[in-house]
Homo-oligomer: 394 residues x 2
């Protein structure tokens, strides 16, 4: 073909959407390290180290903790198709896009799906699940810990107990939560969990960290039918990620380098410090937006620090503001999805993107764009309130 396209030379963005988030520069450098083979002794060591760091992040001792060679949504599919056999009963908790997606994935795996629903932006209480558990007698209950479409932060501890009392396995979507808020796989008794690299891990999309505890693994290893996906079949992946190192597929070597470095960055900071940073920047953003008359879409007391779904003020053109942010300031924020389309902005403060610089920059940029559109607010009040929140914290 002629002429050839120019070499990739991307514009510089501030990634404050629902992911990918700002990538840590060390991660990008690691990704360009020279490639070795997927069975090279050096690569096997990198895999071991990555597994150990993922266990620390998931707060688990689970042997079967690894990264699926695809993006976060494939992590969802991997956990579902390994646990579910055709005809199995599964409950899916639906209060946003990713619960809907999980129900779809489960149905495609042949599950008899019972959906328990809450309005978008709200979370589930154990009471919401009781009847369905008694009626559906599920093998698996799937729930989203951080609903990226609504910014709702789902508590899991009590629900885990209830699910286990009903004899079911708890499957958790931690795509957006991992690395930003505590995810206690062992302490809460989460049986299977998946995440993605492009949210609070500050790594480009391309891998899906997953973990199965022995109870879940036992279910997988004793299936009557083969897992419907060859690529995601944990009974085979276990032989590559385990001590046998049997070839399954060719792992995405350089993505693994990136995730390895991303995990090192997080663990250098320390998990508690990292969670505190996410919480503080969220509080500052919230104070700033509140001073500008912008409220949150998710239920008070259950708002995620890394995914701020906020309501587009009355009379303001959603797309014009997002376009202004992107074109005038290089800032990406997310549009609303599904029920929230046109009504909500999704502001990510994830991983390396969760810093005061980004909060102040966004508030300043929004100040200008909202004033242009005639929004009634006290110009400058947003940055002042955020600044006050930061000062109060030190």
């Amino acid at each position: 073909m002629s002429p050839l396209p120019a070499a990739v030379c991307p514009p510089v963005r501030v990634l404050m959407g629902p992911g990918p988030s700002d990538i840590h520069p060390r991660v990008l450098r690691a990704m360009s390290a020279n490639t070795v083979g997927h069975l090279d002794p050096y690569y096997l060591r990198v895999m071991d180290e990555m597994q150990a760091m993922l266990r620390t992040l998931f707060r688990t001792e689970n042997r079967m903790t690894m990264a699926i060679s695809a993006t976060g949504s494939a992590g969802m599919e991997a956990t579902v198709v390994n646990l579910i056999e055709p005809g199995d009963s599964m409950i899916v908790c639906k209060n946003g896009v990713f619960g809907m997606r999980m129900a779809d994935v489960a149905e495609r795996a042949g599950a008899q799906v019972t959906c328990v629903e809450r309005p978008w932006g709200e979370v589930f209480t154990p009471g919401d699940l009781k009847d369905a558990l008694a009626k559906a007698k599920p093998k698996v209950v799937g729930i989203v810990m951080a609903e990226t479409s609504t910014g709702a932060w789902q508590p899991l501890e009590e629900i885990a107990t209830l699910v286990h009392d009903a004899g079911a396995l708890l499957l958790v979507d931690a795509v957006t939560s991992l690395g930003g808020v505590p995810v206690e796989v062992d302490a809460w008794g989460i049986d299977a969990i998946y995440s993605g690299t492009q949210k609070c891990l500050s790594c480009p999309p391309g891998l899906a960290p997953v973990s199965f505890n022995d109870r879940a693994l036992d279910v997988v290893m004793n299936r009557k039918t083969k897992v419907q996906s060859w690529y995601l079949d944990v009974t085979m992946l276990a032989n590559y990620w385990g001590s046998d190192r049997v070839y399954h597929h060719t792992a995405p070597i350089n993505m693994t380098y990136g995730l390895h470095e991303a995990l090192r960055v997080i663990l250098e900071e320390g998990l508690e410090a990292c969670f505190a940073r996410h919480a503080l920047n969220h509080q500052a953003l919230k104070a700033g937006l509140s001073a500008m008359g912008i409220g949150f879409a998710a239920q008070e007391g259950h708002q995620l620090p890394m995914l701020n779904a906020v309501t587009v003020p009355e009379g303001i053109d959603d797309a014009a503001v997002r376009g202004g942010l992107l074109n005038n300031f290089g800032i990406e924020i997310g549009a609303g999805l599904g029920a929230f389309k046109g009504k909500v902005w999704r502001i990510g403060l994830m991983g390396h993107a969760s810093r005061a610089n980004n909060v102040l920059l966004l508030l300043g940029a929004l100040d200008e764009l909202l004033a242009e559109q005639g929004h009634k607010f006290d110009s400058g009040a947003g940055v002042a309130a955020a600044s006050q929140a930061y000062r109060a914290a030190t």
Copy 2:
């Protein structure tokens, strides 16, 4: 956790195994470019350009030409699960590991699989398929163009005609062939095809280029059942890769940068020149190995230029030679798989790894290691024969 693992710092390897192959330095640099969002106007342009370049490589006008967000094996799964519905009849041609894998993938998708078999290292003639086509009346016939486990190069043109005459779709595995030998999707009438990035494209593993023609797409779009994999569902992927750009999953942005640059490197050289280079380096390697008493595992006349499966000489310790190559010279070659375990070495001359430097280096290193093991041959004859082959070509 403490202490943290050290930062990734891989040993320098010469990747002459079955893939990943040597990565072009420009590709590694492209992969570390700053990340943008998966719906960023700039990224959408990169996707468009990548699709156009993939069409040139596949020699097709197929609209539905794109990259699956996972490695080559997921490309196999993507094409199979989109075309097959439970109960559909499918013929799989099996003469190595990847035909076996395709049969497994197809069974998991619910296909009634008929396997047509040839001994490892041999290829199929149209005659091998006639009876099975009449009997199985398949919806899809799957065949591997470049069997990475045996080095056999499968001709496709006549088989394509036969398959179409029988009213079936032809599905082709081009993981190892794409970019190294002609792959004529439109001229041969291939209905669906998949490849990987880590072979002749000189890009790290992580994406699977695929292409469906309108006949295949029509079958996918008119399915009675949902595609069993949500992640690989072309009916949804079409809305992201098509003009609508509807969010499906978060694409692996930086892998796309890498593939974009890898395709630019190939098209700058030109496809014909690239194929000629692969052919010449194969001939030189073959001449050299022959002079050292090492023969090929695949049928004469059907040996792949980029994947040289050669027989381990009598009395030589397979693992010791591969270990010596890796530890003394940093050279990775592949072991035999399945029926060829311990009997065959797989020497890749793929993409950027297909160059005289690698051929001469490998022959020199093998000379030393085989002499150490008491192999009877004329030391130096291998390099001399290869050098002669290069001189003859200029």
